[in-house]
């Protein structure tokens, strides 16, 4: 019974305990305002983690999400600043990039039969390079000098910036809203729809699912497109928050998102990739980092803490579950 409880609620209990301890040590931690700061700080990672969860569900893996987010950030910035396009055009272009990357990953893993890790690793490098080409490796900001010597005509529109910076009802940051909406959609899709059921069936036993009539290739494509689109949404929010298109590898995003998705395995004893878990996993890491920063813990402890969280969560998932 105790073990059952530990598996199911262990991580959630730990999360609550953490919140209580931090609130005690630093009263500002528990405030409403800080809750949204934490949610805001995990929103982008959580969105990426939801995408990874979709690929993990079909027993795939998408290492290219960080790079996809970086590319989507550059794409939307490019459309806004260099091409002087509108908000809608920037968002659509970035989402289009996500879809294309998803299709490419699907093509490489499904059609070309390259193992998921290798294919998406290749795509990751491809995208890292690709984002540098249009601007010759420069970051994109309003007024930047272009290759021909003139300065860029466009700027980040207020509507686009609002995606990253506005608060709904003056309280809830837009990225948090988007994260929650995507989490709900993903949860409904994976847990309640027949498509999600088939995702898990394919992840559990690909040939059995195929023999039971699932169109395995289409679903695997679908998982990568979801992952690509989610990553590009993350990229758009990143661009909107920073108000510029920074050349970056997105590797920290990738690592954090994968960690969140894996920590999520342990949430409520799911022992499999799941939407709720991905968000709670991201939150778990976010709460720890926020709390420790408030307590003035030095920056270099952060990665260590993340690693420790992941290891503990994996112990909950595998070590304890095995023995039941």
């Amino acid at each position: 019974m105790i073990r059952q409880g530990a598996i199911k609620y262990g991580l959630v209990v730990l999360l609550v305990a953490m919140v209580l301890v931090f609130s005690y040590l630093q009263p500002a931690f528990g405030s409403m305002r800080n809750s949204f700061i934490i949610l805001q700080s995990v929103s982008i990672v959580a969105i990426l983690a939801l995408g990874v969860t979709a690929t993990l569900a079909v027993d795939g893996f998408d290492l290219s999400i960080g790079a996809t987010a970086a590319l989507a950030m550059m794409t939307s910035s490019y459309v806004l600043v260099v091409l002087d396009g509108g908000t809608l055009a920037a968002v659509v272009a970035a989402l289009g990039v996500g879809v294309l990357v998803g299709l490419l990953n699907g093509f490489l893993t499904v059609q070309m039969r390259i193992p998921d890790l290798l294919a998406t690793l290749g795509v990751m490098f491809l995208l890292l390079g690709l984002q540098l080409i249009p601007t010759e490796g420069r970051s994109i900001a309003a007024g930047m000098i272009l290759g021909d010597g003139g300065s860029a005509p466009g700027r980040f529109s207020a509507a686009f910036l609002a995606l990253g910076r506005t608060r709904l009802f003056g309280v809830v940051p837009v990225p948090v809203v988007i994260m929650l909406v995507l989490a709900l959609i993903t949860w409904l899709f994976l847990e309640r729809s027949r498509f999600g059921r088939l995702f898990y069936a394919i992840g559990g036993n690909r040939s059995a699912a195929w023999l039971a009539g699932a169109n395995v290739s289409a679903y695997r494509y679908g998982a990568y497109v979801i992952s690509g689109v989610y990553a590009s949404i993350g990229g758009i929010l990143l661009a909107a928050r920073m108000g510029r298109g920074d050349v970056s590898s997105g590797n920290s995003l990738l690592m954090d998102a994968v960690a969140a998705a894996l920590v999520g395995f342990a949430v409520l004893g799911a022992a499999r990739p799941n939407a709720l878990g991905a968000v709670v996993g991201a939150l778990f890491v976010g709460v720890l980092l926020n709390g420790l920063t408030m307590l003035n813990a030095p920056y270099y402890t952060q990665d260590f803490i993340k690693g420790a969280v992941l290891v503990v969560a994996l112990m909950f998932t595998f070590g304890l579950a095995k023995r039941t």
């Binding site: 700080s41 982008i44 309003a142 007024g143 928050r241 995003l253």
Partner: protein, 339 residues
């Protein structure tokens, strides 16, 4: 129908016509290599632009090696550059220990070497630097001028980066000189994207330490993160950011209505690129630019930017001559890039 021939001839002659003063003999047909440790970010882009412009003005053939923040790769590239027999090598950033023996090897091979923002620990290798101490001092002086001698600071700092460490040393002095300046929180990260990660940290720090009225960000990516956090927290009126470094994006950020980023001390990275090449050219011409070439910074305030309506680095250079040109490594014969 050879109507194009005179045109082509004119085009060929054009560079010759613009070259007024006579260049020293040592500079003809020389090839130089820029071996850079880091290239991502506005600063490094502008630096490269300066290097390219100055090399072109002097008729030097330039090849760029980009190690992309990989010390081992920078070392390999340095090796390559030596092998390929460049006449001059410009090292940009990196770590002393990972390049000093290779740099010495290059010097022994008769190649002229200068180093920007990294100490190659070699008598024959001039070191070009922006004056980090001066940079930090200008920003801190402005903070004291604005805020008085008594305020609480949130300090964004990550150790392990020599320029940041030099700036940090000045801040430590200041804390001694002005006991009223208290560092109540220290945070920072170099996780990509840096501004985004720092913003998350700053949000937490500001909640935990409501007394903070100044954020000291000795690196502009840190300042951007702090600015995001302040605006999101609605504290832009109450907390001000003092920083170092400057770029077009930084100018835009400082000039946004209600921006908390009020001052930065900066050296024009393009000018540093130019100075680096000029120092290398002096070596090639047989002259000595000195063991250390320091490029002096300029203080840039939000007020100044707004008053002069400065939008980008170009205009900053035009309206603030001190920013557009540094009078270092500049002998009589030197040809400067056209502005």
């Amino acid at each position: 129908m050879n109507w194009w021939k005179p045109l082509a001839a004119a085009a060929l002659l054009l560079p010759a016509l613009t070259q007024a003063a006579e260049l020293p003999a040592g500079l003809e047909n020389k090839r130089i290599a820029l071996v850079r440790f880091i290239s991502q970010g506005d600063f490094f882009q502008a630096y490269l632009a300066g290097v390219e412009a100055q090399a072109e003005a002097l008729g030097l053939e330039l090849q760029v090696f980009d190690a992309r923040q990989d010390a081992a790769r920078q070392r390999d590239m340095l090796d390559q550059a030596i092998l390929q027999g460049f006449d001059g090598i410009l090292l940009q950033h990196g770590f002393t220990d990972s390049i000093k023996d290779k740099a010495a090897e290059a010097v022994d091979a008769g190649i002229k070497v200068v180093a920007f923002d990294v100490d190659a620990e070699n008598e024959a290798i001039p070191q070009i630097q922006q004056s980090d101490a001066e940079l930090a001092r200008l920003a801190l002086e402005q903070a004291v001028a604005d805020q008085g001698e008594q305020f609480d600071v949130g300090y964004v700092y990550v150790s392990g980066f020599p320029p940041l460490e030099r700036r940090d040393a000045v801040f430590s002095e200041y804390k001694q000189t002005y006991p009223g300046i208290r560092e109540v929180a220290r945070f920072g990260t170099v996780n990509n994207p840096i501004a985004n990660s720092v913003a998350d940290q700053a949000a937490a720090v500001l909640r935990a330490n409501p007394t903070i009225s100044v954020i000291l960000a000795p690196f502009d990516e840190f300042a951007k993160g702090a600015k995001i956090a302040l605006e999101e927290a609605g504290l832009a009126q109450d907390v001000k950011i003092y920083s170092a470094d400057i770029s077009t994006a930084d100018i835009q950020a400082m000039r946004e209505p209600g921006s908390p980023w009020v001052a930065t001390a900066g050296t024009n990275p393009a000018v540093m690129g130019e100075v680096s090449v000029r120092a290398l050219a002096m070596l090639l011409a047989g002259e000595n630019p000195g063991r250390q070439v320091l490029v002096p910074p300029t203080l840039i305030t939000q007020q100044l930017l707004n008053e002069q309506d400065i939008q980008n680095m170009e205009q900053l250079g035009q309206k603030l001559p001190a920013f557009a040109h540094a009078e270092v490594a500049n002998p009589e014969w030197m040809r400067l890039p056209k502005r």
